[in-house]
């Protein structure tokens, strides 16, 4: 057999490191972004859910690399049953996702002992990090586009399903006409699939009954940034980002997020400096 000029398959290099953390029966995939020089802080990144994860992946990776260039040991991971992490995505609960984040936090802590830790959540990830923060983990909490309510964390995902059904031919599965119809299905215990990802009824029930306070009241710093897709900024604490937002499909492969990155980097750097003092 003729073989083209063959690249070598080698072990993971010491720069960015990939690995798996055990969480229950699942292999939870994580990626560590170490800084080029001294570690000044650590950051655990909890990303969005479902297809939003796929579309936001490039930006999420750029953000992790930007943090590492500023001296942070950054870690991102995939929830169980999703993307690179194994497990049954159709049977997960919210507690499972929190356990995945906690398992990764354990790995991160073991590599950054005594270093200030920032927890960062994007969209659905904000729901997860808020729970870790509420139980005392992390020195600061940064949220990008946190959902207004816990249930609305999956509201957009349901809208994607309705849109998906609207532009396909009739097939094996019946179409659904509205988000309300999907909510009724979930309330009745049926699972709903949106863009290839299953929302288990258990996860839906957990989200509906979840109450988490963002501010733990213990002086730790919290910052929530609303992201407005398009040129208009709707509130003083929001940042405008190109439309469509980077967690949805669009023609921009590398959206210009300089304002968001810079303001967030400044905040985490100041926060870490304050914690160290």
């Amino acid at each position: 057999m003729a073989v083209a000029d063959s690249p070598q398959i080698v072990a993971i290099a010491p720069a960015e490191r990939a690995g798996y953390s055990r969480s229950g029966d699942a292999q939870v995939y994580y990626r560590l972004h170490p800084p080029p020089e001294e570690v000044t802080g650590a950051a655990l990144l909890c990303g969005p859910w479902g297809s939003e994860r796929d579309y936001a992946h490039g930006t999420w990776t750029r953000w992790a690399r930007a943090l590492s260039e500023r001296g942070f040991l950054a870690m991102r991971f995939d929830y169980r049953g999703m993307a690179e992490s194994s497990g049954d995505g159709g049977a997960v609960s919210l507690a499972d996702y929190v356990a995945d984040a906690a398992a990764c936090l354990g790995v991160l802590r073991s590599r950054a002992l005594g270093i200030p830790l920032v927890l960062h959540g994007l969209r659905f990830g904000a729901v997860i990090v808020k729970q870790l923060f509420a139980r005392g983990d992390g020195d600061a909490l940064l949220l990008w586009d946190p959902p207004a309510t816990q249930v609305s964390a999956q509201g957009d995902v349901l809208r994607y399903r309705v849109a998906e059904d609207a532009v396909r031919e009739d097939g094996v599965e019946p179409r659904v006409g509205s988000v309300a119809e999907l909510m009724v299905m979930l309330d009745a215990g049926s699972e709903v699939t949106s863009e290839g990802h299953c929302i288990p009824p258990r996860l839906w029930r957990d989200l509906k009954s979840l109450v988490v306070k963002c501010d733990a009241g213990d002086g730790r710093r919290v910052r929530a940034i609303r992201l407005d897709a398009g040129p208009k900024r709707r509130s003083p604490c929001s940042v405008s980002i190109p439309s469509p937002p980077f967690w949805r499909p669009g023609r921009r492969l590398v959206p210009d997020l300089a304002e968001l990155f810079e303001s967030s980097l400044n905040w985490v750097t100041e926060t870490v400096a304050e914690v160290r003092r």
């Binding site: 000029d5 097939g171 290839g196 023609r251």
Partner: protein, 307 residues
Amino acid sequence: MRSAVEIQLADGHRLLGTRHEPADGAADVGILIVNFGPIPRSGVGDLAVRLADALCDAGRLVYRIDLPGIGDSDGDLPPREEPYFESLQRGAHADLVAGVAGAIAVRHGLRGGVVAVGLCSGTWIAGYAAERTDAISGLVMLEPELRTAPYAGTEGVAGRIASRVNKAISPLAWVRFLFGENCLSSRLGVARSFAYWTFLRMVGSSMPTDTYWPLVASWKALARRRLPVFVVTSARSWREMYVLRALAWLDRRAPSHRITHEAISGTNHIFTAGGGTVRVLATVIRWISESFPVNARDGVAEVGADV
């Protein structure tokens, strides 16, 4: 069992990937899944992961890799997708994928080579790569696109106006309407169906004018090599129209080809709608099982150690 792997390139860049290794050793044909466009190696809706897991359960060794600039791999991407797709259509990364397929075949002693799998623009890379190496012994093309990639747009208000005008006069936008791939078509169902059949009668069996002929020529080269190729499309999609015409064209020019085609009904381009994921997985696994049966590996030496 999944493991993260890194592929070191001659230019110093690294590609990240995931290997799915069956518990009881691999068959003598491996699988290599390349990125579905600029989406990470898991694929939208985790289609690539599910396919890899299912093939691994069936005793296959599977690699999924992130090409440069995508997912976890090093490298840069252009700010917008148009120049990226144009470069892929011209053959970017084909040498790279051919090399990776060869390295996998050598490392695991895969006597039967590697079946490359791609979706949409991933089929361009996989197809061009198969032309460059005989380490690729089969191809699975999911929703291949044979039309010329759209040209790069312009930014700003002028760009947005130009984009709207272009959309209104674009044959592709109307084809999307006819094939039920925009919101307007679902609101105008009866009118669309009438226009759809009228349109099919008008275009006849010739290739549409915006066909990207180097891709069709690539299919012809693979057809002449009698490479087993499996093409899966979403039924009654506009991409399927190009595929059906290309296959008819090949039937006349390379009649002994081994390209087979199946359509999945009631789904979308990425097979996530209408239960398409489950059906496309079953279809692909069946074709691979039939075309590349699992053979006993007696006498095949293991090459290299685990990474």
